[in-house]
Symmetry: C2
Subunit: 541 residues, 2 copies
């Protein structure tokens, strides 16, 4: 596959011209009923309303050309089929296929990559047996009691995705089951969790693909110490999800072990065993399968070539329009659903770690903007917080609203003839409109400039299937953008330097301690570290 | 007081020149021990390390000139003394003094604004009596049992600050006491909280200055309904914190009432009764007083005129350097403390709602950038998430790291001769260094450009006093920036238009329902709303 540079595409030149006069949303009639009806697309149970983006038919046609010229869908299918997409041409790189979609292809008669899908099926079957054993009381603690809590010990992709999904779907918890998460190397994180659970009835699910993640191994030791202190045998309370042959791939140390494969990146791993074990324990195997089904539906729909009928592709392209042509650096993801509280944090990893890159897949520095800064909080909370800046700040922030027609718990209250859920949805739509149209006013402080682009992703209800779909919509959006920018969305070399420097600082500290130096604790720690000779300035090799 | 426009200041012109060749952090020796030792300041128990900002002595001198020329400290003292700082010259505005500092001036013999401080003392004394009554069993439920849970019902400033502080200080909870929060109009938010508490032993603290906040009143109704359904009398379970004379200022409906005053804005209200009641209940009156003491120490130190000795002022000016002169649109706040999980969300409101403005205090559109987009998550989680973009993305993101030398719980584990807390601090410092210095490499994908500015705010331990100090550091930083940009940091006109449009949509919906229209529920809701004639395009008056 030829990796074409973004700036070399003729559609990019055309889009640059169009961006000189983007669609004016503040013009009277700019947002009429016809536009609102026409500028929407549907995929995987979600409607994507994009009339409030600053684009028109010409822009859409050129974005379609861009998708075609860059071969976005072609690359997506190649990825699903096992082509080596995680690479940089001509330089050392991870050099691997990218097959998170295989975890969901289990519903297909002819999966795009039969080998990876077979491995996913095997792991899922193994999980089912394990969960059955728990359900039937064949796996119990030393007193013969069932396990009630699973604590996932992982960080980054082994934490954010599964955690976001669990919080989103807590409504579906099995009776007497719950999940907790320990991620941070901050000892207070583990301490707070460990002090609030019954250790004897808790399983700890340690998740690390490499089996060598500093934070996770530290926290595993901390957990083991806590179990031993409580007179419990760690091997009866610990589970492992890790790569084949990793230092953690040692079944004797764990009550059960599950595998993840190197063709699934951490930030795309929520639908592998990385998410499956804890979600399956707390929500049930069937709920996890529903998540996979929802994601699969989107994976299939994402192969559609028309951007007007392929929501993740269209989301990717409107994002590129905003980022590269209208020049906006950030993206606010604003779910009007409290259950999606941590979904933006998952997206921060999935998007920013994937596309926060500046080298093309041909190994040359890019001269176009890549991944935006992604951030967000649930509305309507955000309305009472940072929306002031969205409406009247000096920097335009494109926004993606996410909402649902019905609430999860169904415990609405009707006040003034409308329900809480209706108020929530009305607020979301009103924000999108207000950002777009703006408002004139005699008092300059009450003026809204408008022309601030946004879109709305709306589904029926936040269920396991729709959560899976939402996850896959964003995964594919991100992947499409990376293909278009011609960057490798699947490595993360940018996290290495900080690790190296932290290691050097700790080596200096440990050596000084061994030599009996004073002043290493207390106030002088950071100065001792910072002035430690040699460890500060990274070698420039 | 004369409001001088930012662009008219001679120091601004000088800083523009200096910004053409900002300090190069990637030069060999650019970050030597001397710079690391010299570029730090201390206020309120925190050290601010700013050697990794792109500035030098000349820049600092010019930033000092800027502070002096704009009269930042003078304006700060005027604010504390009760001058009407919440206004726009020549136009309708809230036209009020800004006196959140008065809540902390209670420790002073000569408070800057004796009247407001006296009101703060009165409310605090009233709170002490109420908490005493709870402690001594004089206020109990209908079965004579003590109350164990307080649920704060509020949104925006009545939620984010108190919630961030509570999460930060949960370590200090009184035995048998805890707090919860309901903010979102999303009915699932309240449902999740209500389904996990014992209503009969819960107090609901309803917080709204205006007494008319849609979300809060809706949630209050929902809470009252839940109490009645459980056979409980709402008036024995509800507390109110509201403005004098508001619709909620009706003591008969509440077990106890506390006042907030219109000279304290919501986003600056955490140290008023808005935070005091719930924090006092869950953590104890003494802990709340410690928070106030920590904040007060910073309020006093913030009157220092030398930017090298006044951390909030220096934070404000380095922020302005990055925003207006180096052209960075965002700011990442990255606490290396899990307990500060929600502190960035509080700052999003405090900063973005304060300074996301585009009209100067003279009523003219600004032609300089104002408040940045603020976002962040705790490290080291972030390192495994979005740090890729911070190090190698195409957009530079200035960062503010926050950390502590000692952990809160003291449950560290030592691995390889260093403790978890040391690993945490080493990681933080290493990130700051890595962003600054970058690294050359033969493989372009392993190259780090460097020159990405950051600073580190480090304290001894996260305690009530240091939390109060941290809160006040940021409050004052934000206020100084607003003064410098000559914007009104104390109003929030930008949240109005969305509210108006949401109200119109709901009116249309309610009217249609009254008239028996079909198709209002289910899938067509958003289209029905969006195409409702007339309600979409805001009148341009």
């Amino acid at each position: 596959m030829l990796f074409r540079e973004f700036n070399d595409l003729s559609s990019v030149r055309r889009l640059r011209q169009l961006a000189e006069t983007p669609y004016d949303l503040t013009r009277p009639g700019a947002l009429d009923g016809e536009r609102l009806q026409n500028y929407r697309a549907a995929t995987g149970g979600f409607d994507y309303l994009y009339a409030t983006q600053r684009l028109d038919e010409q822009t859409l046609d050129s974005l379609q050309d861009l998708a075609d010229e860059a071969g976005l869908v072609e690359q997506f299918i190649a990825m699903k089929s096992g082509e080596v997409m995680n690479r940089i041409e001509g330089f050392d790189s991870e050099n691997r296929p990218v097959l998170h979609t295989a975890c969901r292809d289990i519903f297909s008669d002819a999966p795009r990559h039969p080998g990876a899908t077979e491995q996913a099926r095997e792991q899922l079957a193994r999980l089912r047996r394990f969960l059955d054993d728990l359900d039937r009381g064949r796996i119990v603690n030393h007193r013969g009691e069932t396990f009630t809590t699973m604590v996932q010990v992982g960080i980054g992709g082994s934490d954010l995705g599964p955690r976001a999904l669990y919080i989103a779907l807590e409504r579906y918890r099995l009776p007497g089951r719950s999940a907790r998460f320990i991620a941070n190397v901050d000892p207070d994180d583990a301490a707070a969790v460990l002090s609030s659970i019954d250790l004897s009835r808790t399983l700890f699910n340690v998740v690390s693909k490499s089996g060598s993640t500093l934070e996770t191994l530290t926290n595993e030791r901390l957990v083991k110490a806590a179990l031993r202190d409580a007179g419990l045998d760690p091997a009866r309370h610990l589970l492992a999800v890790t790569g084949v042959g990793s230092p953690m791939d040692n079944p004797r140390d764990y009550l059960a072990s599950f595998h993840m494969y190197d063709y699934i990146g951490g930030r795309y791993s929520a639908t592998s065993m990385v998410g499956g074990v804890t979600l399956g324990f707390a929500l049930g195997h069937d709920v996890f399968v529903e998540i996979l089904k929802g994601a699969h539906a989107v994976d299939v729909a994402a192969e559609e070539r028309s951007i007007r009928a392929n929501v993740p592709l269209l989301m990717a392209l409107t994002g590129i329009w905003n980022r590269c042509f209208l020049g906006h650096q950030t993206l606010a993801v604003l779910p009007y659903s409290q259950a999606l509280l941590r979904f933006p944090a998952h997206l921060q990893q999935c998007d920013m770690e994937s596309n926060g890159k500046s080298i093309s897949r041909n190994g040359i520095p890019v001269s176009w903007p890549t991944g935006p800064i992604v951030w967000g909080e649930p509305g309507t909370n955000g309305q009472h917080a940072f929306y002031q800046l969205l409406h009247q700040g000096t920097t335009t922030v494109p926004a993606e609203f996410i909402g649902f027609r019905r609430s999860q718990y169904g415990r609405d209250i009707t006040v003034d003839n409308t329900s809480s859920q209706e108020k929530l949805v009305a607020n979301m739509l009103a924000q999108s409109m207000a950002l777009a149209t703006g408002r004139e006013h005699a008092n300059p402080n009450k003026r809204f400039a408008g022309n601030r682009p946004s879109s709305v992703l709306i589904g029926d209800r936040l269920t396991p299937a729709s959560m899976g779909a939402l996850l896959a919509l964003y995964e594919s959006k991100i992947v499409f953008q990376g293909f278009c920018w011609n960057i490798n969305s699947f490595d993360q070399e940018g996290v290495q330097l900080g690790k190296v420097l932290a290691g050097r600082l700790l080596d200096v500290l440990a050596a000084a301690r061994e030599n009996g130096s004073k002043n290493l604790d207390g106030k002088s720690l950071e100065y001792a570290l910072l002035t430690a000779s040699g460890c500060l300035n990274p070698t420039r090799k």
